[in-house]
């Protein structure tokens, strides 16, 4: 099972939470975190926010940074192929805009 726990926040309240999503990856495929977030946004929850509006998707713009299980990564260049539970969080909550998006 591929479980993704995504940090959710609301800029107008102090409340924060983690939402859990199960994404089924076909056998033998590896997906980037960006592709997994796209899958969650397009099929499960369109209210989730992650850096997307000018993402290059090929490791060039270096703006889709976030934390995967605590480690800073580029979402478009980090692959998932093993079953497990993965936690996605913003790099820093100081400059947080919403969910995984930082200014």
């Amino acid at each position: 099972m591929f479980e993704f726990q995504i940090y959710r926040s609301d800029p107008h309240s102090e409340k924060e939470r983690y939402d859990s999503f199960i994404v089924e990856l076909p056998d033998g495929e590896k997906w980037t975190i960006m592709q997994i977030l796209d899958e969650i946004y397009t099929t499960k929850d369109p209210t989730v926010a992650y850096f997307k509006h000018s993402a290059c998707n090929h490791g060039k713009c270096n703006r889709c940074t976030m934390r995967l299980n605590g480690k800073v990564i580029l979402a478009c260049q980090t692959y998932i192929s093993e079953h497990g539970t993965y936690k996605l969080e913003p790099v820093s909550k100081k400059r947080l805009v919403r969910d995984l998006v930082m200014k």
């Binding site: 495929e29 369109p46 209210t47 997307k52 509006h53 090929h58 490791g59 713009c61 270096n62 260049q77």
Partner: protein, 620 residues
């Protein structure tokens, strides 16, 4: 579902002389040129300047003529490749559809613009390796940093990042500003300006995406169209062959084409593994010219359209029959151009292309296996109708770079990177010059309120189709009717479906996230309203053009018909409907041919017999 947040509407006002829209090479060169002319300049980008858009996606070439490069001191340059020769190649390889005045501007501005960029790039140690006849090889990421430096070095240019322009402000038939939305905050920005330069890049409506899909929604084209401008040549999209269909994590990467051109160790095969034959006389053109994009696509189409396509609708780049050492040396050849720049990649034994690890694909090739690839839209030849001074027919409105049309006609064989620089600089100079005696016009308050209330309708709309589903519908329409090859019945069906879809979304898109801050559905809804205009113009122009020309491959009209179709198609809005008209290109230097060619390859062969090797403007 998220809760509604009560946030007071924030609107900020900014005043400038020249407003440049777009944070890629065209926008930056326009802003710098306008600023040098002594006028106040602001640049607004929907992403970060030099870290967004398609400028950074470049595979690498930045070229001008060889003679100018030689005179500049590049000893490896080919002085025989003159401006005149470059001009002739671009015009003829554009299938004579290029506006020759625009090509002339391109060729004459190119050397200084390119040298300027290379010199600035070298200051920050960016890779700028010269290769003959007159080009430099650049890394997209470093190119982005280079153009960012241009703006950083000019502190009094106002910079607005992550703000997307929604619409132009036009009063008394003159563009006097624009309204923007800050993607992070949901606040509006009103730009009061004396003129506006659109430099927002191209469009691509398909599900298969290679370059930066999230920003290739034809924003500038649609914004200009809504303001009354005309769109030209929208049926011509440049499809780059060899783009990976599989595996999913590499999907959309153009490395296959890079390998095809630089290593040339592969065969094209169909789903049965049969070689797709490319005639001998076209094979060597394929290996040396930008025309290879058309040749590879043309022969792939012959297989795909006959039901011999791969499971994902493409073809294979097949390495069967090549020795591992041949493939390995091919990768070494490619590696000379693409040197890893990131920490952790430099010392790795894995193969990196740009920012991405391709060791897995290298192993596939070394094992004599195959890559599943197809043509993918990477560049729009079509766009806003402007003249060689980058003026649109609407006073106060200019455009530069990929968002324009006219420089490359039916297929681009010279560098898009060079286009953005030369047109950006020209647009900046002209826009600044044109406004020297122009007194600012006040923007009526009700005009601003009207535009804002339109967009506020998107934020608050709980009815209708979701932007996510709408994107899928639009992509499906484009895939079926507007792809790599075209036929009347599929285009008619696509137009019918698009018209139905336009009716469905009349009441707007459903937006479930209620936040003003980073609302992805709102952003997507705005993308789609722009993309729909571009797709409609492209589809209707493609249906109207009953011939094949450049990258417009029609199965039902394979002939290149010079007698009837040496014209551009212009799309404009009239009484709420899209109107199409024909326009003969400016051909002040070379008289266009008459008669017809049996098919696209016959035209390419004739070019070859006229030019010898037509690889003069080779790039990647």
């Amino acid at each position: 579902m998220e809760n509604q947040n009560s946030t007071q509407l924030q609107i900020s006002h900014h005043t400038t002389d020249v407003l440049v829209v777009g944070g890629g090479g065209a926008g930056v060169y326009a802003a710098v040129a306008a600023h040098k002319e002594g006028v106040h300049t602001a640049i607004v980008s929907s992403g970060k300047i030099g870290q967004s858009g398609n400028t950074i996606m470049v595979g690498g070439s930045l070229g001008a003529d060889g003679k100018s490069a030689y005179d500049y001191g590049e000893t490896k340059a080919d002085p025989n490749f003159t401006i005149e020769e470059e001009f002739e190649e671009i015009v003829k390889q554009s299938f004579f559809l290029a506006d020759q005045k625009m090509v002339e501007q391109f060729c004459h501005y190119a050397p200084a613009c390119v040298q300027d960029l290379v010199e600035t790039g070298r200051k920050i140690n960016a890779q700028c390796d010269f290769f003959p006849p007159g080009g430099y090889f650049c890394n997209g990421t470093e190119l982005g940093y280079t153009i960012r430096k241009f703006i950083k070095d000019r502190k009094d240019i106002d910079v607005h990042e992550d703000v997307r322009i929604l619409d132009l402000i036009k009063v008394d038939n003159r563009v006097i500003g624009a309204i923007g939305l800050n993607i992070y905050t949901g606040e509006y920005s009103i730009f009061h300006a004396k003129s506006v330069i659109l430099a927002t890049g191209g469009y691509q409506p398909f599900s298969f995406k290679c370059t930066e899909a999230s920003a290739s929604n034809g924003d500038g084209m649609a914004i200009a169209y809504r303001a009354g401008a005309k769109l030209r040549d929208m049926e011509f999209l440049l499809f780059i062959p060899g783009t990976f269909l599989k595996p999913k994590h590499h999907r959309g990467n153009i490395f296959g084409y890079i390998f095809a051109v630089l290593a040339n160790k592969y065969h094209l095969t169909d789903k049965e593994g049969n070689k797709i034959p490319i005639p001998e006389d076209l094979l060597h053109i394929n290996a040396t010219s930008e025309m290879s994009k058309l040749i590879m696509n043309y022969f792939a189409v012959q297989a795909i359209s006959q039901g011999k396509g791969t499971p994902n609708g493409g073809v294979y780049m097949d390495f069967a029959g090549f020795k591992p050492e041949e493939i390995a040396s091919g990768f070494e050849e490619v590696g000379k151009f693409f040197i890893p720049t990131k920490k952790g990649q430099k010392n790795s034994t894995d193969f990196y292309y740009s920012g991405e690890n391709f060791e897995d694909m290298r192993q596939v090739a070394l094992n004599g296996d195959r890559w599943e690839v197809n043509g993918c839209a990477e560049y729009s030849m079509g766009g806003i109708f402007v003249d060689e001074a980058m003026r649109s027919p609407i006073p106060g409105l200019y455009a530069a770079g990929e968002v324009t049309s006219g420089c490359f006609g039916a297929i681009r064989i010279a560098d898009g990177l060079t286009e953005m620089l030369v047109q950006g600089r020209k647009a900046g100079e002209i826009a600044a010059e044109d406004i020297k005696n122009f007194e600012p016009i006040e923007i009526p308050e009700d005009f601003i309120q009207n535009i804002i209330s339109n967009y506020e309708g998107i934020f608050g709309n709980t009815m209708g189709i979701s932007p996510v589903d709408s994107r899928k519908t639009i992509e499906q329409i484009a895939d079926i009717g507007f792809g790599l090859y075209r036929e009347q019945n599929t285009m008619e069906k696509a137009i019918e479906d698009l018209e139905k879809f336009k009716l469905q979304i009349k009441s707007g898109f459903q937006v479930r996230a209620k936040h003003r801050e980073y609302n992805m559905e709102v952003n997507e809804a705005i993308n789609l309203q722009n993309l729909i205009i571009c797709l409609e113009a492209g589809l209707k122009s493609a249906l109207m053009r009953t011939e094949s020309r450049g990258m417009h491959i029609r199965l039902d009209y394979p002939k290149v018909n010079h007698d009837n179709w040496l014209v551009s198609i212009l799309a404009s809005e009239q009484s709420g409907e899209m109107n199409l008209e024909k326009l003969a290109p400016n051909t002040f230097k070379f008289t266009p041919p008459t008669g017809s060619h049996e098919n696209l390859m016959e035209y390419v062969k004739e070019l070859e017999s006229e030019f010898g090797n037509i690889g003069g403007v080779k790039n990647v």
